[in-house]
């Protein structure tokens, strides 16, 4: 809801949770508008809301109120109110077209609702309540596979990491679109009746809310469970349950149809069935379903989100597809450039990709192109209706994207599609889009394949005289054992063709290799396991660069603070690199150019290197915008995604340096002056939200599997303060005094002596256990020995280390994992520290950085520089350096 200074109040949107109370609204499927309320009930909620907003005193701006309604009596309970713009405000804004935050800002400046025009209708004011002639469904995206120890029960603590939203002309269409927007294996409902469906087991399982509940409920109904039984078990409103029955019935009609008839396809499409689902039900390849469907003229139309259910003309082309009658896409004068977004936020593909999409759209529009955005993530800027010339709120599957392209082709033509900006989601569509005859702007699908396909990429490296860690491909344990023996442990194992760290593990011995292969059930000839030599104690280097076929612009070289083996998304990194010499930087530059050239990149490329024993290894190359593009752009004051977009339209780097002014006239981000400010990126990790069934948090140890859900950036003149800033922004701020608990693996004991000594000199008290304490004492460092967990509470009530953490005695934890065995005492220590919000340092390099930062925090006051000043300072420093040369 919104309120202005004249006490005018409007309700922007009602959103109903599919799951009953007990599941966090961020983790529930939600539906707008509310589907199961009469006007009397709805108006009662509205009256209560208005009374609350007045009583609490939200004088201007937005507020969100959550209610619970007892379904048998209508009793209303207020759950909470947020006197601010909330996560659901973003959803409500996308769901209605009413830009809550934008209008709240104007209200806070003193405007009243009736003074602010509705952007979409232009003629009517913002002092009204949006009315929807469509249904919006939001589904959460979870990442429990990244936290195998975590209990997947959904509770009042939010655990989803992202969400997809879909719009349809009815609930079934919106729900199925939303589910396929998730891009997760198994996210689309299955209507397969060939396998036995154990209805009692499903009903029983569905009592406990988990990520699987929707599927359990639908399967139970498919197997003959009744709406009433499932209502009793789950509390999900019978209207929604009946909609799942409807989907099952439509599936039955599809399955029973003698052929792919127009009537059957229209029915299926009206309820959101994808070509893939229809194919599965009719044992027909997806492409054949699509071909028949197109031949029969069964195509979606595109409706408009207009805030007013068509009462007034809309001037904003914010579209969604529906298999309905009338299309509303207007003609456009010039061919459009379509940008495919990155879909729901997930671990490994977050909002960073949206940055690149948005910047590309801005740059292309500025250059005079009409841009079209396709995305399904309501949390993004790209899905604001004023970012691109036209917005299609659609899933990013091949089918949905092809239909958007067809709609654009019908109404004025398509110049091409950008697949390199939204991460893996659009990148993996590149080949199929090209096969459909659609021009791919920037790097070609063939070039993408060169980088993504291991064999092809090895040839590129060979040709360039570059090396990667020894590796092999296995389809069985025997295979993998042979390769591992040849390469030597430890090895990095992962499924093939999935870059970006899914299911990746460092394996230290044969026993663990055997366990990994046994667990990786999806290994087939087509999907083998990749085995790489793992480079211990290597420095990882990340590069983002632009290449136009002639020139290379090195956007930035990032040095990771954690050693290779920690996923680059979870590792802190620093730009410019702080410990790499000029010769290394030159080698990185030459390697980057060679790879960009060899692959045939046009636009952005991201390459990961590892430096071990002064040998530069190439770990992987991603021929697309990377997660670090926003960080590099901000750190170096150069907007790489904008430049990449123009390169995709044929502009050269030379022209970008001159007439476009998007790139500096000379030099690049790999060549920053020595007195340039230092930027540190640090990952934000969600460990405290994920708990095992006994209630303790999951292990906070970092590894090759990425688990961070966000990132922060600290900038300062030197590394130490920049790192300190990043720590206080990301996780727990580093202490400047107090007690530090140190317990490290044997292999790290030698490395910690100097930093621990430094902490003692700074006045910290050191607490330690067993072996670490002994080593410190031998080096003349006194530490207080504390009890290990196994030792239990002492006879005089001395607490164990975990007790000391929970009672607040300890201010920071240094704990590195013991060899290949991550579990043990360390886990409980880290879990307790994570629960209590203490800084936990799990690698030696990070420990060194932290000590530097602590020392800096005690010596200097932090200062503040705006990003604009930072960019200006960089330019001045670069010009001064160039002048001196």
């Amino acid at each position: 809801m919104m309120r202005d200074k004249n006490d005018n109040v409007v309700v922007v949107c009602s959103i109903e949770n599919f799951d009953p109370v007990g599941v966090h609204t961020g983790d529930s499927i939600t539906v707008a508008p509310a589907m199961t309320l009469t006007d009397r009930e709805y108006q009662r909620l509205r009256d209560i809301s208005i009374a609350i907003i007045r009583e609490v005193g939200v004088d201007t701006g937005g507020c969100n109120i959550q209610f619970a309604i007892e379904p048998d009596t209508g009793r209303i309970v207020v759950i909470e109110m947020n006197p601010r713009v909330s996560r659901s405000s973003a959803l409500a804004s996308k769901a209605t077209g009413f830009a809550i935050a934008k209008i709240a800002t104007k209200l806070s400046l003193g405007y009243t609702l009736d003074e602010i025009p509705n952007d979409i209708t232009k003629k009517t004011p913002a002092s009204f309540e949006p009315t929807l002639d469509y249904v919006v469904v939001k589904v959460p995206r979870f990442a429990f596979e990244k936290f195998p120890a975590a209990d997947p029960t959904l509770t009042t603590t939010m655990k989803s990491v992202g969400e997809a939203m879909a719009i349809g002309r009815n609930f079934t269409e919106a729900l199925q679109k939303a589910l396929r927007s998730l891009e997760q294996k198994g996210s689309q409902l299955s209507f397969d009746i060939s396998a036995d469906i154990d209805v009692p087991a499903l009903i029983s399982a569905a009592r406990r809310p988990t990520t699987e509940r929707l599927s359990q409920v639908q399967q139970a109904l498919l197997g003959g469970g009744t709406v009433d039984e499932l209502y009793q078990a789950t509390g999900i409103d019978p209207w929604y349950l009946d909609q799942l029955v409807l989907l099952n019935e439509v599936a039955e009609t599809i399955r029973e149809a003698p052929a792919l008839t127009e009537e059957m396809l229209r029915l299926a499409k009206r309820h959101g069935f994808s070509d893939e689902q229809i194919g599965a039900l009719t044992h027909t390849p997806e492409a054949v379903v699509r071909g028949v469907r197109h031949a029969l003229g069964v195509r979606p139309v595109y409706k408009t989100v207009d805030t007013c259910a068509a009462e007034f003309a809309a001037y904003t082309p914010y579209h969604y597809s529906s298999y309905d009658e009338e299309d509303e896409v207007g003609p456009h004068a010039q061919p459009s450039i379509i940008i495919l977004g990155s879909g729901p936020n997930r671990i490994g593909q977050g909002i960073e990709f949206d940055y690149s999409c948005v910047h590309a759209s801005m740059a292309l529009r500025k250059a005079g192109y009409e841009t079209v955005m396709v995305n399904c993530n309501p949390e993004t800027v790209s899905t604001d209706y004023d970012i691109s010339t036209r917005l299609y709120f659609e899933p990013l599957t091949l089918e949905d994207v092809l239909e958007v392209i067809a709609a654009e082709e019908r109404t004025g033509g398509v110049m091409g599609v950008f697949v390199q900006l939204g991460g893996q989601t659009p990148l993996k569509l590149a080949q199929e889009l090209a096969d459909a005859g659609i021009p791919i702007l920037g790097t070609s699908p063939e070039a993408i394949d060169l980088a993504e396909h291991r064999g092809a990429f090895s040839r590129v490296l060979d040709a360039a005289g570059l090396i990667s860690p020894k590796n092999g491909t296995a389809v069985s344990f025997e295979d993998s054992k042979k390769i591992a023996d040849e390469i030597g442990y430890p090895v990095l194992v992962r499924p093939s063709y999935v870059l970006g760290g899914r299911g990746m593990e460092i394996v230290y011995d044969e026993a663990n290799l055997s366990r990994y292969i046994a667990n990786a059930t999806e290994i087939t000839e087509a999907h083998p396991v990749l085995i790489d030599r793992f480079l211990e104690d290597a420095i990882e280097i990340d590069v983002d660069a632009l290449y136009d076929g002639t020139d290379l612009y090195l956007g930035g070289i990032m040095e990771h603070i954690e050693e290779a083996g920690i996923h680059s998304g979870d590792s802190a990194c620093v730009l410019p690199p702080i410990t790499l010499g000029a010769d290394i930087l030159q080698r990185v530059r030459e390697a980057t150019l060679a790879i960009a050239e060899g692959v045939g990149v046009r636009g952005l490329i991201n390459i990961q290197f590892a430096l071990a024993s002064d040998v530069l290894y190439v770990l992987e190359a991603n021929p697309r915008a990377s997660r670090t593009v926003p960080f590099v752009s901000k750190a170096t004051g150069v907007q790489l995604a904008k430049a990449a977009a123009l390169i995709g339209t044929g502009v050269s780097i030379a022209a970008l340096r001159t007439e476009h002014g998007l790139l500096p006239a000379t030099g690049d981000g790999g060549d920053l002056p020595l007195d340039a400010p230092v930027s540190v990126k640090e990952a934000v990790l969600p460990f405290s939200r994920f708990r095992t069934t006994d209630g303790t948090v999951v292990d906070s140890l970092l590894g090759p599997e990425m688990r961070s859900t966000g990132e922060v950036m600290g900038i300062d003149k030197y590394f130490d303060t920049a790192f300190a800033k990043s720590q206080s922004a990301a996780n727990a701020a580093l202490p400047t005094e107090g007690r530090v608990f140190v317990s490290v693996a044997n292999r790290d004991k030698r490395s910690i002596i100097m930093p621990v000594k430094r902490l003692v000199d700074l006045g910290f008290e050191i607490l330690s256990t067993g072996g670490t304490a002994d080593v410190l004492r031998r080096n003349g460092i006194q530490s207080t020995t504390v009890r290990k967990i196994a030792e239990g509470t002492g006879e005089h009530g001395e607490g164990t280390v975990v007790d000391l953490i929970t009672d607040g005695t300890i201010d920071m934890i240094i704990n590195t994992p013991t060899g290949g065995q991550a579990r043990g005492d360390g886990y409980e220590i880290r879990a307790a520290a994570t629960s209590y919000g203490l800084p936990v340092i799990t690698t030696v390099p990070e420990f060194g950085a932290a000590v530097q930062a602590i020392e800096a925090m005690r010596s200097y006051e932090w200062s503040v520089t705006s990003l604009q000043e930072h960019a200006a300072n960089l330019r001045v420093a670069t010009e001064a350096r160039d002048a001196a040369r």
Binding site: D39, Q43, W239
Partner: protein, 413 residues
């Protein structure tokens, strides 16, 4: 009652518009033919209140909200004794109503009352068409009736009477007097006032609002004369909403002029607003596609505050917006447009400055819709109190200043 608990077998159905545009769907509710003026309503809740609102008589209502019937129907939420829409156009009709108050499915009730509907049409396309071309004659044909050729159906559609010039209030009105007592609506104590309410298509929530504030409502048929009204010795006269063209409401206009001449406090809603406009000498006109929704912003020009209102009108009063003016019927003194639509500046309320009379074009009784404008009932009670105390300087304690707050306290009970 028929077998309305069972889902109907659906047959083909056609929505034919006067200009020849055809939408095909499936039958909904009763099978047969429904003729009327096609209009769209944009409320996302309150379909039951909508279809039982007599103002929708002889109209084929398009619901822009795609899912209709989800919460079924119940006796309490009906706004009158029957469904009044002539036909009903929806996209996705509910298969299974789900609400603890639901007593019957909407589909079943439509069939019980013989209301012909159509489902599965692109209601947004129909709405856009009506927005661009204006509300128009239309017909829904289902079952055997749908078998006619397009030309035959179009001829049937074109052959019906136009809404312009239609006199419908008498058709929907109660035929005999009845009283709604405050004591039946939670009011404790003696009634404060009596209002004579002319039923031109009154919604049941209106007398309920009066009753909850201690006002006794005597509902009179639309054909009542001034003598019928005077016989009730009312403290105020009310004219309700209702269907049809206000230009045909000559008897009610004449009646209202007598009420104004007698200086009896007057409050009008919707049709009642148009009748006040006409009584004062203003004209009325037909809007292209009307205002039908529960999200309509109205500015109260006296306070500068915005109300989100429930609206359902196809006609409007033609009165000058720029400040108080002399009523064309000079004897009624000065009048001002008190409320305007923020969407399109249509007159949404009139207030007499020299007489105890005011009216609004929208629906403070809501049902369906937000309750922002319920203060107008209090304002009328205030007006009746002020009038009574100026007539009888030292009468009872319930008048003037204390009136408003007393009414509010009771509302909170």
């Amino acid at each position: 009652m028929t077998d309305s608990s069972q889902p109907a077998t659906e047959s083909a159905a056609v929505l034919m518009l006067e200009d020849g545009r055809i939408f095909r769907g499936r039958s909904y509710g009763a099978e047969g033919t429904a003729l009327g003026e096609a209009v769209f309503a944009t409320g996302m809740t309150g379909y039951q209140e909508t279809i039982t609102d007599p103002s929708y008589a002889r109209q084929l209502v398009v619901q822009t909200a795609p899912h209709i019937g989800n919460t079924g129907v119940n006796a309490a939420d009906a706004e009158s004794r029957r469904i009044w829409v002539a036909g009903y156009i929806v996209r996705d009709a509910a298969r299974k109503p789900s609400n603890w108050r639901s007593e019957q499915s909407l589909d079943g009730q439509l069939r019980d009352q013989g209301i012909v509907g159509i489902q599965g049409v692109d209601t947004r396309a129909v709405t856009r068409h009506l927005r661009e071309r204006g509300a128009m004659k239309a017909g829904i044909f289902s079952g055997p009736a749908a078998a006619g050729s397009d030309a035959e159906l179009l001829a049937l559609v074109a052959g019906q009477e136009s809404m312009q010039g239609a006199r419908l209030a008498e058709e929907v009105s109660a035929t005999s007097r009845y009283v709604v007592e405050p004591s039946d609506n939670g009011w404790e104590g003696e009634p404060l006032f009596t209002v004579a309410a002319l039923d031109l298509g009154i919604k049941s929530m209106t007398p309920k609002h009066f009753a909850q504030r201690g006002v006794r409502t005597v509902v009179l048929p639309a054909s009542s004369t001034f003598d019928d009204v005077a016989r009730e010795s009312p403290d105020g006269v009310f004219m309700s909403n209702g269907p049809g063209d206000p230009a045909t409401a000559d008897p009610q206009v004449a009646l209202l002029r007598e009420v104004l001449d007698a200086r009896i406090p007057f409050f009008g809603i919707c049709f009642g607003n148009q009748i006040l406009g006409r009584a004062l000498g203003f004209g009325t006109y037909k809007l292209r596609y009307g205002h039908r929704g529960i999200n309509q912003p109205v500015l109260d020009r006296r306070t500068g505050k915005v109300e989100i209102t429930s609206q359902n009108h196809g006609f409007a009063v033609d009165a000058p917006l720029d400040g108080p003016t002399q009523a064309p019927e000079g004897r009624f003194g000065r009048v001002e447009v008190s409320h305007v639509s923020l969407n399109d500046d249509v007159v949404e309320g009139l207030a007499c400055l020299d007489l105890p009379a005011f009216s609004v074009q929208y629906h403070p009784e809501a049902a369906a819709g937000p309750h922002d404008s319920a203060y107008l009932f209090d304002r009328f009670i205030q007006l009746m109190g002020d009038t009574r105390s100026s007539d009888q300087p030292s009468s009872d304690a319930n008048d003037s200043d204390t009136n408003d707050s007393a009414a509010n306290d009771k509302e909170a009970n």
